[in-house]
């Protein structure tokens, strides 16, 4: 059986639930370890890579209670894995809350400005590019669904923004990779189309987690287990075809 290491932030949660369901149905065709760290205090950007090892930060014991992390081990021997899948949020919509930057349906941030924000916001770019440079054949970027809470107040501006953000983020990852890793192209796992809204850049609201958060708020930032199941199936197919 192929072995997969899923590295991520809270967005790894949907994959974990999807994997649990597929495993219980005996439909999982790979073994999996998780290294998922909550985004507070930097999330998995604090992981260290040394030679073949992916390790928790040295001070992780001090951080216990501050960072929520669910790792199966203190360190992972990367050579043991066939695939390293990264599941984490992009830089939107928060802390860049675009709703404060639009007027009469127009996005009030130039593409250059969005690009600067995206580039600087993506806290995981260093660790992801490091993993990619070291293990270009193993890395698969899954990402996270663009939060569909925005769909609720959907306007073309938001789609335009997300589209440009994603394209730019993708461009920056490629750019970063080509500069540091001699033009190798990372592999992206795209969610199946039925999960996506018409724009193909947002996830349909019904596939979001939506659990109540209090104050009449619901979680529209994280995907549901249904989403997780369908994405893990795509990951399974990808692994099987390798």
């Amino acid at each position: 059986m192929k072995k997969v290491l899923i590295v991520g932030d809270s967005h790894a949660g949907a994959l974990k639930r999807g994997i649990d369901i597929l495993r219980s149905e005996k439909h999982l065709n790979f073994e999996v370890d998780f290294c998922a760290i909550g985004s507070r205090y930097g999330g998995f950007a604090s992981l260290k890579i040394s030679e073949n090892r992916l390790m928790l930060p040295e001070n992780h014991h001090e951080l216990a209670g501050k960072i929520i992390y669910f790792v199966d081990k203190d360190e992972f021997l990367i050579n043991k894995y066939d695939v390293i899948a990264v599941a984490c949020a992009g830089p939107f919509p928060s802390p860049l809350d675009i709703r404060n930057y639009h007027c009469n349906g127009a996005l009030l941030l130039s593409s250059e400005l969005v690009s600067s924000i995206v580039f600087n916001l993506h806290r995981y770019k260093k660790i992801v590019s490091e993993l990619f440079c070291l293990f270009p054949e193993k890395l698969v970027i899954i990402g996270a669904p663009p939060p569909s809470s925005l769909e609720l107040s959907s306007t073309t501006i938001i789609e335009r923004y997300q589209k440009s953000s994603l394209v730019r983020l993708y461009g920056q990852i490629l750019d970063c990779c080509s500069k540091t890793c001699h033009s190798r192209t990372p592999k992206f796992l795209l969610p199946p189309k039925h999960l996506l809204a018409e724009s193909l850049f947002q996830t349909k609201s019904k596939f979001m987690r939506k659990v109540p958060l209090g104050d009449n708020r619901f979680d529209y930032s994280h995907a549901s287990e249904e989403y997780g199941v369908d994405v893990v199936k795509v990951l399974s197919d990808m692994i099987a075809s390798r």
Binding site: S10, G13, G38, I68, A106, L108, S110
Partner: protein, 353 residues
């Protein structure tokens, strides 16, 4: 010696004791405030580049400097200026001339509309009235117009809410669209656009027109505010001209420009109780400094000099201590925490711990 009109005057009245023998870093009596600035006064800043220093130091010293177009969260601080954020109270870039300021207010008040203000360079489009705030330009003319409309709505908010308007007068020289009179902060073709002498002309503003423009600006501002009064603090930028288009030597043009602006500031502030003048220009160009106030290019004002200038300001308007630090209005820390909790909760639930 018999009594004469000068015999009882303080040492600040004499060149020898007020300048030659005076410490240029602590000039006694050079600035006496006309009015107090209450700690909660809402301050708006604008003007030529020297105004940025004033704005920064006021913020640092706890004053309530408004920022109606704050940088988006996530934009690193070292890029704020590149995109025209955090420099002044709105994202209008440098307002070098009083005519430019007047036109901005008139535009906000819907009394006037700029013409020919979208310039193109290499397929990108720029707001010629603030070309530096988007250094790479925007993708379409429509986008420039939309951004401008939003900007104007924010400036309106600023004008409505300010208590004190600090303006640094920078230049008399300007480039104007012949047909409409639209004034640009930069010459066409320098940063963006293309110079065409059939479209644009050079104007070197005269004392009377600058004074008139500022008084008109005050009227428009008052109208925007529904008649609510406000206070003004004027300064003159000590930064010399980079270049002149007047046909005269740049030194002559600089002295003309600064002298005119200084006179206007004096003529505006002396008779009007709500306008104060702060002598940053004099502190920087004091001959006692032997030009050491400037960097090696004899143009940029050294940081230490700005400190000295502001020290004189804060002697009259002491720093506001223990001001509550207000977080970005666009993303409060409590919202951030909620978001973190939401993420952690999603993770905990999935991993069943």
């Amino acid at each position: 010696m018999g009594k004469n009109p000068y015999s009882d005057l303080p040492k600040s009245a004499f060149w020898k004791t007020g300048v030659s023998q005076e410490n240029p870093y602590a000039i006694e009596g050079i600035y006496k405030k006309k009015f107090d600035i209450p700690p909660d006064a809402k301050i708006a800043t604008a003007g030529s580049c020297f105004a940025q220093h004033i704005s920064r130091h006021l913020k640092k010293n706890g004053y309530n400097v408004l920022d109606v177009e704050p940088p988006p969260p996530g934009l690193p601080e070292n890029l704020h200026q590149k995109f025209g954020f955090s420099m002044y109270s709105a994202r209008y870039g440098n307002i070098y001339t009083v005519r430019q300021l007047l036109q901005l207010a008139q535009e906000v008040a819907c009394e006037w509309t700029p013409q020919n203000y979208i310039w193109e360079k290499n397929g990108k489009f720029y707001d010629a009235l603030r070309p530096a705030v988007e250094p790479e330009g925007l993708d379409s003319t429509e986008e420039v117009a939309e951004h401008r409309q939003y900007h104007l709505s924010r400036v309106k908010k600023l004008f409505e809410s300010l208590d004190l308007f600090i303006f640094t007068l920078g230049l008399t020289e300007m480039w104007v669209h012949k047909e409409s009179g639209t004034v640009y902060p930069t010459a066409p073709g320098t940063l963006v656009g293309e110079f065409d002498d059939t479209l644009y002309e050079f104007v070197n503003a005269q004392f009377s027109s600058i004074k008139k423009d500022f008084n008109r600006f005050q009227k428009v501002l008052k109208k925007i505010r529904g008649g609510k009064s406000f206070k003004c603090l004027l300064t003159v930028s000590p930064v010399p001209l980079t270049a002149t288009a007047s046909g005269k030597h740049v030194l002559l043009s600089t002295i003309y420009s600064k002298s005119t602006l200084r006179s206007v500031a004096g003529q505006l502030s002396t008779p009007q109780a709500h306008i104060d003048y702060f002598p940053s220009y004099e502190i920087v160009t004091n001959p006692r400094m032997h030009s050491s106030a400037f960097s090696d290019n004899l143009r940029s004002v050294r940081d230490e000099t700005v400190e000295t200038v502001m020290k004189h300001f804060f002697e009259e308007h002491p720093a506001v201590l223990q001001r509550e630090i207000v977080s970005s209005p666009l993303l409060h820390s409590s919202e951030k925490t909620k978001e973190d909790i939401q993420c952690e909760e999603a993770l905990s639930e999935a991993f069943g711990k």
